[in-house]
Amino acid sequence: MTSEPQSSRLGGGPGGFPFAPPLPLFLLNPILKRIVHRIAVQNPDMFDRLGPHRHAYFLIDPVDIPFMLYLRPDPEALDFRAVGRRNPPPHAARISGKFLDLLTLMDTEQDGDALFFSRDLIVTGDTEAVVCLRNALDDVDDPIAESVADMFGPPGRAALNALRRAAENAQKRKGAK
């Protein structure tokens, strides 16, 4: 289990993120629970790629939104919830990056290694667990971001398209630097 300093390069803290839901976490958590259960039902084979790490807790840290996500990808005891930044719970590994970068990873549009090379993705803790999670998420039939958007019908898909455009623009700005 590990905890680490906040990335200085990636910024961190809320920072006025335009898509940050103005929701208290207790309202968000039932939605996250629904999402993770749906994805697990749609992709039962993905857990095989996690091997022994399906029982591990992952802290997913979108550094530019006010909360982090806490995931245990164990089909027998799935757990996915939002947690505050102040006292991160014990975890095997932490994955930090900007929200839009993490989203494009889930959308299978971004290569995790490329984000790692550019230092836009930071991995600490159990590296093998993270690699297994990455491979499991990469091997699903439909991109996870799309499955989540579909759960919310047309508004969900519209939101995903808006986020995709924002990610594309952010990518272009990065390329232009």
């Binding site: 990335s7 299978t108 290694d113 590296t127 093998e128």
Partner: protein, 335 residues
């Protein structure tokens, strides 16, 4: 050998989803391996179960794409059974070729499945006409994957002398050494790239962040690099580490730098030289990588064959350390 054969595009897949992406993006062939030590990307969470391989071969063949199975590690002495089992499985599933490095594995295919094509892996490090002729004569090897140490003019000369097809790497990891002989990772992790199939297994890798934003890469008990807050990073392999040595001040990339091969500007020369197949490295990469790189090279090869100026997509974001080189294809002094 005649010039201007249309080279096949040989694309990597570490998961069935990546294989489907490669097929959909226009791969002529996909190479992939099983979840064990028989392939040189034996990383946890990667590769194919027999059931996944069966379905994936069906998907590829439906899309007109071949599947080449990597059995390209060296069995430890007297322990060739697993490799034979994987050959049997591959033959049963209808693989189009097996990519092998070890002569015992090659001999087993020659004797048991004379119709199954043998491709000689880069791990065999065969680059001289004599070495290649030996593999062709003794085992019926149909294609040799050349080590990444040859210039285009050397490849052109070689093609005139050998009786088999040639495949060259055009994109991806640029960790050279003498391919198939590197034992650096054994020294630090106790596992062998060449026999266990894993260089720098993730279980031995740790990244440590400091308050100033710098990041250290630790492999086993050794720190092999430290990146400043704004520096791009590379793979956690010893060959890409920075070390202190008497000849230089400060940390120094003593073996190789974090950099990727990108031979897109060399494609016309390689096609003119008569190379039969172009290989993209990266079975450990995501399907996003596979999709982007395969699509880019599909377009480039097709436009060259159509006599047009190739449009070369910018792939630098996908390269290690965000740096690219034409490597030895252009000059032996690539560093």
């Amino acid at each position: 050998m005649n010039a201007m054969v249309k080279p096949e595009l040989i694309c990597p897949a570490g998961t069935p989803a990546a294989l489907r992406s490669a097929v959909d993006a226009g791969a002529d062939a996909v190479y992939c391996g099983y979840q064990n030590a028989t392939n040189a990307r034996n990383f946890v969470g990667l590769n194919f179960t027999p059931e996944e391989m069966e379905k994936s071969i069906r998907y590829a063949h439906d899309g007109g794409t071949k599947v080449l199975i990597t059995l390209n590690t060296f069995p430890p002495a007297g322990k060739v059974e697993l490799w034979k089992e994987m050959v049997d499985l591959s033959a049963r599933l209808g693989a189009d070729a097996c990519i092998v490095a070890d002569i015992a594995v090659a001999a087993y295919i020659r004797d048991t499945y004379p119709d199954l094509r043998i491709h000689l892996s880069v791990q065999a490090a065969a680059s001289s006409p004599e070495a290649i002729e030996y593999y062709v004569r003794e085992f019926g090897v149909k294609r040799v994957v050349l080590p990444r140490i040859m210039t285009v003019s050397e490849i052109r000369g070689l093609l005139k002398e050998i009786p088999c097809e040639v495949e060259t790497f055009i994109f991806g990891n640029h960790g050279l050494m003498v391919e198939g002989r590197c034992s650096l990772t054994n020294y630090v992790t106790g596992q062998s790239t060449n026999m266990d199939g894993a260089c720098s297994p993730a279980a031995c890798v740790k990244y440590e962040r400091a308050d100033d934003g710098s990041m250290s890469t630790i492999l086993g008990d050794y720190m092999i690099d430290r990146f400043g807050p704004e520096e791009t990073a590379g793979y956690p392999t010893i060959c890409k580490g920075r070390y202190k040595c008497d000849a230089r001040d400060g940390g120094y990339y003593a073996f190789e730098e974090p950099i990727s091969l990108n031979a897109s500007t060399m494609l016309p020369d390689l096609i003119n030289a008569g190379v039969h197949a172009f290989k993209i490295e990266g079975r450990q990469r995501s399907r996003a990588y596979v999709k982007k790189v395969v699509a880019a090279f599909r377009e480039a090869v097709d436009s060259i064959m159509a006599g047009q100026e190739p449009r070369l997509a910018d792939l630098v974001a996908l390269t290690e350390g965000q740096k690219q080189t034409e490597g030895a294809l252009k000059t032996k002094k690539w560093r």
